[in-house]
């Protein structure tokens, strides 16, 4: 597997919890890449590992074919999930500080900080304290901190969490613009369907393992593209019984619309012919699968179920750890 940013066999255990279990995927240059999966799938651990702020038990992360070094990291921009800004510090000072820490000169730092705050709609709020900003504006300030040194790789952990629709649009526009400028953008989200239009390619993970990865368009189509056909007057889609199984299987019937999972290489026009023979065809189109559906098909569980399962497992693991500690203390 090749790519600008490669993850190869990442493994990490926290006590009895396996966070990463041989995770492997690659991100190509200049892409907006979605790193998706339910909460607890191991996304944050992976992103932190890029910056060396989480250690790995095994596996390696490569940037342009080389293991990620301290020097390389300084050309990365990072926006952690929990917002990493000093609450009592003025916005401009703060962004400038991050610029200085990334080896920019004082002059360049001030200029870039002013530029990015203006660009992100925080012009005029430079002297406001971070804790005086609204949630959306704090998010913008955080993004400015990640962008300030013009990074080659932008890593954002749940950048869309808690944003209103306008905020989501703003954020996605900026990510797209950065990718246009040649920056590789990797962002995580547990809201699979919210972000499917934003990214070009995704990796979906579960239990620290890759479920599926590739261009969004390919995943939405899948190996068996979905065809939606409705014949006027046939509410139950009975006409579909005439479709031979080698063409495709009926997935479901939704309000008279029959959804077929087309067999690989099958000719969709033959299904159209059968439909027309049965009556007036009101609707005939390929339908994109939602990414949440792709996840469900691959794992057998919905994203919500997976998250509930993870939360329960974390509770049990926590209890087990506590017990273990008590027992160890008692025998000491």
């Amino acid at each position: 597997m090749t790519g600008e940013l490669q993850f190869d066999g990442l493994r990490r255990r926290f006590g009895s919890v396996t966070a990463l279990d041989g995770l492997t995927f690659a991100v190509h240059a200049g892409q907006v890449f979605g790193f998706l999966g339910p909460n607890g799938a191991g996304k944050t651990t992976t992103m932190r590992a890029i910056f060396g702020v989480a250690s790995l038990d095994a596996g390696d992360i490569r940037w342009r074919g080389e293991p990620v070094t301290e020097q390389a990291r300084r050309r990365f921009g990072y926006m952690p999930e929990e917002r990493g800004l000093y609450p009592g510090m003025k916005v401009l000072d703060q962004i400038e500080y991050f610029a200085l820490l990334h080896d920019m000169s004082a002059q360049a730092a001030r200029k870039a900080a002013t530029h990015w705050l203006g660009r992100l709609g925080l012009g005029g709020r430079e002297d406001a304290r971070v804790d005086a900003l609204s949630h959306g504006n704090q998010q913008r300030a955080q993004l400015a901190a990640a962008l300030i040194h013009d990074p080659e790789l932008l890593v954002l952990d749940e950048p869309f969490a808690g944003l209103d629709p306008a905020g989501v649009d703003d954020m996605s526009a900026i990510l797209a613009e950065r990718a246009q400028a040649g920056v590789t953008v990797l962002f995580s989200s547990h809201q699979l369907d919210l972000v499917e239009d934003i990214c070009e390619a995704v990796a979906i993970i579960h239990h620290g393992r890759l479920v599926v990865s590739g261009p969004v368009a390919d995943l939405q189509r899948g190996e068996r593209p979905r065809l939606a056909v409705r014949v006027a007057g046939d509410q139950d889609g009975d006409w579909a019984g005439a479709v031979p199984p080698e063409l495709g299987e009926v997935e479901t019937v939704r309000g008279g619309t029959v959804l077929f999972a087309l067999s690989p290489g099958a000719d969709s026009q033959r299904i159209l012919d059968i439909a027309r023979a049965a009556g007036t065809v009101e609707h005939f189109s390929f339908e994109a699968r939602r990414l949440s559906e792709v996840f469900r098909q691959a794992t057998g569980a919905s994203v919500g179920q997976a998250e509930a399962e993870h939360a329960a497992a974390a509770l049990t693991a926590g209890a087990a750890q506590t017990d273990g500690r008590t027992a160890a203390g008692a025998t000491r």
Binding site: G52, V53, E70, R83, G84, H102
Partner: protein, 398 residues
């Protein structure tokens, strides 16, 4: 350390200086501390001017002449005096011990005081016993040797004898108490600030963004350096206030031993801060929520609290016990205990220096342990990190 490391460390330190130095809390606390110092120094001097007359006993065959000498000495020393004739030396000594008399002039032989000040009799030139000794000595000379008045321009003093061994004067003890309060306040306030600041960085995950650009040791060093410079600045301002207020009010505190006590305190603020700052940093790195910081820094402050509480027993008694002497040489307790011992006149200067060097050496050792804890726990979230685990575990790859 290469140039980038120095630059990063300085950037971190500068942020601390700017952010904390700019706050109203810092300005107000500085003003309060300076006022406290100025008052602490000037108040005894101001009160002394309105003091009750000092009772001076005289023993001799010619009370009238002695009374003149005592009055004149009082005038020279700037103290109101009352002459109390005594039948004999034994009675006078008893009155001296009971505190009924402040000093006794024995005609032609000596000046008795309860305790000779730590600087010795000669250093007491500006005090009442010193003036008494000088004048009475002159008087004796004139009586015995005709024409000696002309020769005695330099002044020949009677010996000043103390009934109990010399020890720190009350002024010195008060200065000592005052000094250790400052040492204690500065180390504990700024130490807690370090722990809180690191707790904040950890709990808000700022540290993740910072550590993507800066190494943990740079972040740690910059933090304690920046906050330390603020503490040092405040301490220096207080010493200046001490000296200025002392001279302005004519306080005896700035003369002789008291200045030495303040300087000793200054030295131990620096080494004490250096010793404790990294420990506070390590404590801050163990918590995940800022509200946990207070309970985590408590054990660190314990040695200081013990030394501080016990310091009262030294300052209000004559001579420290062996236990407190030991505390004076143990690095965790030395920053408080040693200035106390010195102020009480229980240790010579060279022992103070030995203790300071020991403490400075222990700082290196403490910094290594604390930096290790910090490095391993700063990125670990969830419940508070058990210390045992942090000490045992391999360092994280950061």
């Amino acid at each position: 350390m290469n140039q980038r490391a120095l630059r990063m460390t300085w950037l971190v330190a500068r942020r601390e200086l700017q952010q904390r130095g700019r706050t109203r809390v810092f300005a107000i606390s500085t003003i309060i501390l300076l006022l406290a110092v100025a008052l602490g120094v000037a108040l005894p001097a101001i009160l002394a001017h309105n003091a009750k007359p000092e009772r001076v006993g005289v023993v001799g065959t010619n009370p009238a002449t002695l009374a003149v000498v005592v009055q004149e000495a009082g005038r020279l020393a700037g103290v109101k005096v009352t002459v109390v004739p005594q039948p004999d030396v034994a009675t006078a000594e008893a009155a001296l011990r009971s505190g009924d008399l402040g000093a006794v002039l024995v005609q032609g032989s000596e000046v008795l005081v309860k305790q000779v000040p730590i600087g010795g009799a000669s250093a007491a030139g500006g005090t009442l016993p010193g003036a008494l000794a000088q004048l009475a000595g002159l008087d004796r000379l004139f009586e015995r040797v005709p024409g000696a008045a002309a020769a005695a321009a330099g002044g020949i003093a009677l010996p000043v004898r103390g009934l109990v061994p010399p020890s720190g004067t009350l002024a010195n003890r008060l200065t000592g108490l005052f000094t250790v309060v400052i040492v204690w306040v500065l180390i504990s306030v700024y130490g807690t600030q370090i722990a809180m600041g690191i707790g904040e960085e950890k709990s808000s995950r700022i540290v993740e963004v910072l550590l993507a650009a800066v190494r943990p040791v740079q972040l740690l060093t910059g933090k304690v350096l920046g906050i330390g410079l603020l503490a040092l600045g405040q301490a220096a301002a207080m010493v200046v206030a001490f000296v200025v207020a002392g001279f302005a009010s004519g306080s005896s505190l700035v003369h002789g031993a008291a200045t030495g006590i303040v300087l000793t305190g200054g030295v131990f603020i620096v080494v004490g801060y250096a010793f404790y700052c990294t420990a506070f940093a390590a404590a801050g790195s163990l918590v995940s929520r800022q509200s946990d910081v207070n309970s985590t820094v408590m054990p660190i402050q314990l040695p200081l609290i013990i030394a501080y509480v016990l310091s009262y027993t030294v300052l209000y008694a004559n001579g420290a016990n062996a236990f407190y002497h030991v505390l004076g040489f143990l690095p965790p307790t030395a920053p408080i205990a040693m200035p106390v011992l010195y102020a009480a006149g229980d240790v010579p200067l060279w022992q103070v220096m030995v203790s300071a060097v020991l403490c400075a050496a222990a700082t290196v050792w403490m910094a290594r342990i604390a930096a290790g804890i910090y490095r391993r726990s700063i990125l670990r979230t969830g419940a508070r990190v058990p210390l045992r685990q942090v000490l045992r575990n391999e360092p994280a790859q950061v």
